[in-house]
């Protein structure tokens, strides 16, 4: 199934991708065969893929990496992470073992392979991005390595032909006690174990935990610690490759044709970009919204929209970007155009009808795609803003209220606004402060969501009505609203209807 509900690269830039396609197409006949589920990504892809695949694969992998990163930001334990990621991986980047006998093995492995290389290009430009990419790819690899079929994993490791010096019998005998003491193996015989000797730098984790013997810079690694070695090798190879890619990229022109898509992707890494899909407006149990309901519904709005709503109510006005942001959001939750016009007309209490009709009405209609050029009307106006959009646009000036409050508010002000909307848990507020200090705005926002819906989330988890991917990190204000509304109206005939009906076939993109 091809996913159409994802945000894309600006259509104007899309044509440039042909260049990229040619790069990949160099040896189009060389369709690679993937013998193993796991991949060290040493060989770049050689076959041609479609434009759709290029974009969606990259975005799907990005989603997976972003979720992994969110797990570390929230200090999930390895077990929790594995559990949480299972649903995400199944949905966005499934990778089955040979033993599954799935028809899609090669297809899945190809997507995994290509998406890795596309992102590698996108994330090699700066040291910071490289480090993050390497860390997250390593986490992903480890996750998969752990749950791989044991026999297939052994085959894979063998295929790597890593140069590990085996410790010879004689040395094993000589170091017997030290080897066992270091690795904490009591009552076992060192002779029965295979040991490898490597430079200690290759297994920094084992060294840090004092779980292996060190001698003159060599680490003596028992067979069962193989994973650390393989993972360290994976990281090292990836880091080296990223350096090379970075150097190769820096020789390209700034306005090289590849730049737009790569920049787009790497920006999405800050906060994964989320599409707005009409399904967000299609909430079971919520009939067509009218302007009178907005005050009540605003209880379920994310802070960015709640802030606009409250400002509108206290000042009877919003400046341009705030109006745009809010109008698109309201459109997104399913407020029809005529209701939206009434909403604004009544909200702007201080304006005459004449002024409103002349200066504001047209803009609202334009946002809905009711007027404007062909393209605008065909596309049904503008897409509701995602978190990424809100987090990357210019900061608001005096009197302006648009944007993401987690980013635009000073921490003290943020905290008092949060308290005003009922977030009063000291621990949560403290962590939110830390999050925004580290510029992890969307993490802070999700934390607040989880706190304010903790009872409902526990319930849907316990009764199994919602899966992990239904509760993944929120990266779109409209998703926040939808999820919040559904959670707060559990048991009103909408339980479990998260996807808002059929996703896919009937799905329309609002762009």
């Amino acid at each position: 199934m091809i996913r159409h509900d994802y945000s894309r690269v600006d259509p104007k830039r899309r044509a440039n991708l042909d260049y990229k396609k040619r790069q990949f197409a160099k040896a189009e006949f060389q369709q690679q065969n993937y013998n193993h589920r796991l991949n060290f990504y040493v060989l770049p892809p050689t076959a041609e893929i479609t434009l759709d695949e290029f974009e969606t694969w990259a975005i799907d992998r990005l989603k997976v990496l972003s979720e992994l990163e969110a797990c570390t930001f929230r200090n999930r334990s390895p077990e929790e992470t594995t559990e949480y990621m299972r649903g995400i991986l199944d949905k966005y980047l499934p990778l089955r073992s040979d033993s599954s006998r799935s028809q899609k093995l090669q297809e899945e492995r190809r997507k995994d392979h290509y998406s890795h290389f596309i992102l590698r290009l996108a994330f090699s430009s700066t040291e910071d991005l490289r480090r993050r990419f390497s860390r997250l790819e390593t986490m992903l690899f480890t996750l998969r390595f752990k749950d791989d079929d044991l026999r297939e994993r052994a085959d894979f490791v063998k295929s790597l032909e890593l140069e590990w010096e085996e410790v010879r019998e004689e040395e094993k005998r000589e170091l017997k006690e030290d080897l066992l003491a270091a690795s904490g193996m009591v009552g076992k015989k060192s002779e029965e174990q295979e040991w490898f000797k490597v430079d200690w730098e290759r297994v920094p984790e084992l060294v840090g935990q004092r779980r292996i013997l060190l001698k003159r810079g060599k680490a003596y690694v028992p067979q069962r610690e193989q994973m650390s070695l393989v993972v360290a090798e994976f990281t090292k190879k990836l880091d080296d490759a990223l350096e090379l890619t970075a150097r190769a990229l820096s020789e390209l022109d700034e306005d090289h044709r590849l730049s737009p898509i790569l920049t787009h992707l790497s920006q999405s890494f800050t906060t994964p970009d989320a599409p707005y899909s009409t399904s967000d407006a299609n909430i079971n149990g919520l009939s067509t919204i009218t302007h009178q309901q907005i005050d009540t519904l605003s209880q379920s709005f994310p802070l960015c929209m709640r802030n606009l709503h409250d400002t509108l109510r206290t000042t009877s006005h919003l400046k341009h970007y705030g109006r745009l942001q809010y109008t698109l959001f309201l459109k997104g939750i399913g407020l029809p155009l005529d209701e939206c016009i009434i909403f604004w007309r009544r909200s702007f209490k201080l304006l005459t009808d004449e002024k409103f009709n002349k200066e504001y009405k047209y803009n609202i209609r334009h946002a809905y795609g009711d007027v404007g050029g062909d393209a605008n009307r065909r596309g049904r106006g503008y897409t509701p803003y995602s978190c990424q959009k809100l987090l990357t646009e210019p900061l608001p000036g005096p009197g302006q209220t648009h944007g993401c409050p987690y980013r635009t508010f000073a921490p003290d002000n943020l905290v008092s606004v949060l308290q005003r909307v009922g977030v009063n848990d000291r621990e949560v507020l403290k962590t939110v402060r830390e999050d925004v200090g580290k510029q992890r705005y969307h993490v802070a926002c999700n934390r607040v969501f989880e706190w304010s819906h903790k009872r409902e989330i526990r319930k849907v988890k316990e009764d199994g009505s919602w899966g992990t991917s239904d509760l993944d990190t929120i990266v779109h204000p409209n998703t926040w609203f939808k999820r919040s509304w559904l959670l707060k109206h559990l048991g009103e005939g909408n339980v479990g209807v998260v996807d808002g009906g059929a996703v896919g076939q009937g799905e329309k993109v609002v762009e």
Binding site: E127, G208, R210, H320, Y362, I364, Y382
Partner: protein, 504 residues
């Protein structure tokens, strides 16, 4: 909608956000120079202390490269007018004293070779960050010098009360501002290499030190540092295979180690963290109870450390520190004993003689255990006793210093502003003989130059050769020579392979 941008809605830049965040004042680069000028005149002590590092840089960039400098403290001595003549009574922080120190005593040339790894100036030295603490406590980061002479010249000009050494960067640290505006900015200026460093400070021993408190030390408590040096040094050599390790007296109550092997210099943060954590044992703060819970069998590194430390435990700890002589302290010892039966037997015994010396209390444990007051196995008791020995003797590292490639550390041979003592190297072959209280102070050294009545040979003698600094400088020069020697063939080999060894 986008076609109708009204005048009110012009997007604005960061300078006018709705809700202001705390912004640091960012004056022109000129301010920098003004501050430097100021440094040459004696400043007032009650000036508000603004750390220059906060002012100089962009909001976020310095966070990536934090400094290890302690928070500047005021030095009363600075408020005195500078005396005209240097005598042994002169305060070591007088600008004349510091000027004479940098002019006549500081071994700039060996320091240069140490950091440069060869006699010919290279980027190993030129791209190295120095950070100066000026007499007015201003803190100046990202200083860099092409040669030893230029570093010397700047020191004489600015008379830093001390300076620190940071990493070698991918470009000249002084150019970092302009580099930030170039295309691949995140890449253009980044730390590449630095020695692996360790910091051991007596403050971390305050809960078990009984002879002195605060900043003061004596030979008894110095043995904590001696034990630490012995334990860490051997682990770095035997386990990690490092060979060029320079231990330096920190000037008051601690020691630093600089591991200078190329392999150590190239380590990234993850590897530094692993080494630090390999060497760390004690967990938990003052209130955490049992601080050592070593896995059994003991890791060979701990087994070896225990063997070294056991000897010191009898003398340095039981006899000299007498850590459990009071009832309150003895209670802590009791807490560390896992056996309830034995614990109550000991409690009973010590209640009747509360101030029994620690050595006796320690031997009471085995004595009572043998007489039957033991409900657990002798092995468990032995392990608990080993843990106790380690808690009282095992090195307490300030591990944060070791974990980051871009952490700065005070240079060897600078003067400690509080004691006036020179931060001299410690020869590990005679580590037990090192006497921190016998380390010369800067005023004493200047006096020694004046008092020197020897004959000048054909070759003109350096001033430091006339003083008690000589053995330390000699030791340092030998250390540097061995390092430079080892780097030579590597350089040649890499050139032959076609790798540009001087790439950065």
């Amino acid at each position: 909608m986008p076609h109708s941008v009204t005048p009110e809605s012009t997007p604005t830049d960061d300078s006018s956000r709705t809700v202001s965040q705390v912004d640091t004042v960012k004056p022109d680069p000129e301010t920098q120079d003004v501050a430097m000028e100021d440094a040459l005149t004696p400043p007032e002590t009650d000036k508000p202390k603004v750390k220059l590092e906060d002012i100089f840089d962009d909001e976020d960039s310095d966070e990536e490269f934090p400094s290890s400098a302690p928070i500047a403290t005021s030095q009363d001595a600075f408020s005195q007018p500078p005396p005209i003549q240097i005598t042994s009574q002169s305060s070591f922080s007088d600008s004349n004293v510091m000027r004479a120190f940098y002019q006549r005593l500081f071994p700039f040339r060996p320091l240069f070779q140490w950091l440069n790894h060869s006699a010919t100036p290279s980027n190993d030295f030129a791209h190295r960050e120095f950070a100066f603490t000026l007499p007015n406590d201003a803190y100046l980061r990202y200083q860099a010098f092409p040669t030893a002479d230029l570093l010397r010249k700047r020191c004489i000009e600015m008379l830093p009360s001390r300076f620190e050494i940071g990493p070698v960067y991918s470009a000249n640290p002084q150019d970092r501002k302009s580099l930030k505006n170039t295309l691949k900015k995140a890449n253009a200026f980044r730390p590449l290499m630095k020695e692996l460093v360790f910091d051991i400070d007596m403050t971390d021993y305050d809960d078990i030190r009984t002879c002195c408190t605060g900043a003061s030390i004596c030979l008894k408590c110095w043995s904590f540092i001696t034990m630490a040096i012995k334990t860490i040094d051997i682990a770095l050599r035997e386990d990690f295979g490092f060979r060029h390790i320079l231990w330096v007296y920190s000037g008051r109550r601690g020691a630093h180690a600089w591991v200078c092997d190329k392999r150590a210099r190239q380590m990234d943060d993850q590897k530094r963290r692993s080494v630090a954590s390999y060497l760390e044992l004690l967990k938990g703060g003052d209130q955490s109870g049992k601080k050592v819970n070593a896995r059994r069998p003991l890791h060979p590194h701990l087994e070896r450390s225990l063997a070294i430390l056991k000897e010191h435990f009898q003398t340095s700890i039981l006899a000299e520190q007498d850590p459990w002589v009071t009832e309150e302290k003895a209670a802590h010892l009791l807490n560390l004993i896992p056996d309830p039966t034995l614990r109550s037997a000991l409690q009973k015994k010590w209640d009747s003689a509360p101030s029994r010396p620690s050595a006796n209390k320690w031997s009471d444990i085995d004595a009572l255990a043998k007489s039957g007051a033991l409900s657990k196995t002798p092995k468990e008791l032995l392990e608990a006793k080993q843990d106790i020995i380690l808690e009282y003797t095992y090195p307490r590292l300030d591990a944060e210093v070791s974990k980051k490639l871009n952490h700065l550390l005070k240079s060897p041979f600078v003067v400690h502003p509080g004691t006036g003592r020179v931060c001299v190297p410690i020869d590990t072959r005679n580590v037990e003989e090192f006497d921190p209280l016998g380390v010369p102070t800067v005023t004493q050294l200047l006096q020694e130059i004046d008092d020197w009545r020897g004959e000048e040979g054909e070759k003109k003698m350096q001033d430091w050769e006339k003083t008690s600094l000589k053995p330390y400088v000699d030791y340092f020069r030998r250390f540097v020579a061995a390092l430079v020697e080892e780097e030579k063939p590597t350089l040649k080999r890499e050139r032959e392979k076609g790798v540009d060894a001087m790439e950065f």
